[in-house]
């Protein structure tokens, strides 16, 4: 089987969510198929400046073919267009201009996909909202498998993406909440889809004592791993934790792992360790009592999965639908929406040994059942087999919808995307506890 993985950026040192997800999937699927990664020469996701040379490269044994980006992103222009399509009635032409402005616009990449489509069984497009995925999926719809990595932002409600969600062969969702949101936004229930998520390389053995000695952390602690950013809910976390620490002077410390782009309170029980190597990170996680995930928006928290893999319960922000849904489905984490719940939940995890142990065990089982790499690989391979069977049976697939004509495209009849998004139901999805990876709909 020959596969192409198409993603906006690709590199061993790129740790962005979708890009890392794409790399993990490419490397894992390369054990079962011949995989080529098709990407751009960009390294920076804000400017899309061409920084890597065009051509073929090899990263961790995978062939990576890079194409130049036609133009860099102009933030002012992109911001103006974003306001137009998100907040005001607009036209399809406006949305296409927004897509082009967002980038990374690489017509050469799309041409290459169209040219080589016949040689490939399937093309996996990562991140629905970028140029490469929209144009690429329209050029090779019969081979297109979409990994949307969608978050709850207005882009998902733009009219142009509805055609992509409805026109690809299959959609590989990261979470139940993502699937519910895309179903509501695009009405693509007929497209084969599966909640697959992403696995993680969790070491078989960790050494908590080594971490404690290396970083001088003696007391029990809760850990936060990720970018220390207001957008990740860290401001609220600090405020809540400081109140909690004042109430429980000998309670858990808070250890922060990750680069900081906001000030960290000067508190004797808050320890910022900066960016850690994978080994240190996993040792720290193993040494911790629990992981705190204060983020409001996550399409899938890999670090939460890693904590569960190591038997650590999670305390998550309940306003993030995905995290809340995962906590409930796994029975391996508590969640909070305000300080009182934060304090009570943290205290419960801290002081109730049987509860802590049970949630940790549930988390480990949940990870093994749904997020270990063999499970993820199997879901991808099953989907490919299913699509091949359908092809062999001659079952008709929904054709990719055509864009309206030149004049209709310029008619301002598209409602503001933010309004459409507000109408899409939110909240954690509660299917059967064991149906994390069930196929959503047969074709």
């Amino acid at each position: 089987m020959k596969l192409a993985v198409v993603v906006q950026r690709y590199g061993a040192d790129i740790n962005g969510g979708a890009e890392l997800h794409a790399r993990y999937v490419a490397e894992r699927l390369s054990r079962h198929a011949e995989v080529e990664v098709v990407t751009t020469c960009a390294r920076d996701y804000v400017t899309w400046r061409n920084e890597w040379p065009a051509g073929v490269d090899r990263i961790n044994g995978i062939a990576v073919r890079r194409f130049p980006v036609r133009h860099e992103r102009r933030p002012d222009h992109f911001g103006r267009l974003s306001r137009r399509v998100f907040d005001h009635p607009h036209s399809i032409a406006d949305e296409l201009a927004w897509l082009d402005s967002e980038g990374p616009a690489s017509p050469a990449l799309v041409r290459h996909l169209a040219r080589t489509a016949a040689d490939r069984d399937f093309v996996l497009f990562f991140s629905y909202r970028y140029y490469h995925a929209w144009h690429g999926a329209r050029r090779v719809p019969a081979k297109a498998v979409l990994v949307p990595t969608a978050e709850r932002d207005p882009a998902v409600a733009l009219g142009i993406f509805g055609t992509t969600f409805r026109g690809v062969r299959a959609v590989m969702y990261k979470s139940h909440e993502e699937r519910a949101m895309i179903h509501a936004a695009a009405g693509n229930q007929d497209v084969p889809g599966v909640v697959v998520g992403v696995g993680s390389e969790v070491p078989a053995h960790t050494d908590p004592a080594r971490f404690r000695n290396a970083y001088g952390i003696r007391r029990p602690f809760a850990i936060y791993i990720g970018r220390i950013d207001e957008n990740k809910g860290c401001k609220e976390l600090f405020a809540f934790y400081q109140r909690y620490a004042a109430t429980f002077p000998r309670g858990l410390d808070l250890v922060l792992v990750g680069s900081a782009i906001m000030p960290i309170p000067d508190h004797p029980r808050i320890h910022h360790l900066g960016f850690l190597s994978d080994r240190d990170k996993f040792d720290a996680l193993a040494a911790s009592d629990l992981l705190i995930m204060p983020s409001y928006f996550e399409s899938l928290s890999m670090v939460a999965l890693e904590a569960w893999a190591l038997g650590r319960p999670v305390l998550a922000n309940g306003r993030c639908d995905v995290l809340k849904g995962q906590c409930i489905r796994s029975d391996a984490g508590l969640y909070y929406e305000r300080y009182e719940e934060f304090a009570e939940s943290l205290y419960s995890l801290e002081s109730n040994g049987p509860l802590h142990a049970r949630l940790g065990q549930n988390g480990r089982e949940y990870f093994v059942r749904h997020y270990e790499w063999p499970v993820i690989e199997r879901k991808y391979l099953d989907m490919f087999a299913r699509l091949k069977r359908e092809e062999a049976d001659g079952r008709a697939r929904m054709p990719m919808e055509r864009l309206p004509g030149w004049l209709s495209r310029r008619r301002r009849d598209q409602p503001a995307a933010a309004e459409l998004l507000a109408a899409i139901p939110s909240g954690a999805v509660m299917p059967g506890r064991d149906s994390e990876g069930d196929l959503s709909q047969s074709a």
Binding site: I328, D331, G333, S348, S351, G353, P354
Partner: protein, 295 residues
Amino acid sequence: MTDFSVRSDNVDIEQIMRQIRSRIREKRGVDYTEDEIRELANVKLEKFLDPRGVRSDLLEQFRRKREASLPPAYNFEDTTLYESHRGWLRFLRRLLRPILLMFFNPNVVTNALHMQSKLNATQAALEPLYYEVIHNLVLETTRLGIEVKNLKMRVESMSSRLDFDERRARALEGVVQYRPGAVPPLQPPGASGGADRPLTEAEQAERRSRRRRRRGRRRPGDRFDGAAGPREQGPRGGRGPEGPEGSGGGEGARDHGAAGADTAEDRGGARESGAEGATGTGDSWRDPGEGGSGN
């Protein structure tokens, strides 16, 4: 100390969260989110404030009236009187202006209207600030109303707890009071040989058996199992004194403790005071107040 027990292999996170929330509600009495407070401030203000003094739809009316009464932005300059979209008319007016000046002085009117337009602009700029101040005041008043209500509930809870403690103290005093002939009066050390005299074999055996009997009377519910916390093993939650009032008090202590002060903050305060800092045994794991090792 914690709110729920884990007795079986299955835990239900939603149920645990419901329990946590109900605990918080029990403690706080009223449980509002920020959005709910805003909604209350806009709609149901009369529940918290004097309905005769403040209108519940004050903000809405303020906003509506302001929008309705806003005059169009009108700039008045010295040429405004003579302006016209017709060029020839504008020219004619300018031409005849000296003649007009012979009848009256329009410059005074122009100056006054110019000043007025500036005042209008200043006022228009200030109005949103007034609106914001009023809005914030209404929100704050609502919040304070809720806070007062919560504080009242806490005071009630504290006073009932105080009543109970006083009753319990009286019961304990009744139990330990001196009864002539029952127990020999306390003697200073060395005053009689009895206190320091070594116990005989029979007396030691009697003490041991008494201690065993006391242990045997402990109920299984006194064991810390995750649902019951150290507070419930501590002095307040333990069995009451054996007198008629005391035994009722012991049960009351357990009930009262569960309903009155089970949120994390209260527990922290209790731990700080040291009165309830006993750690659990058996299934208990680690009390944050004790700062045990983590892994």
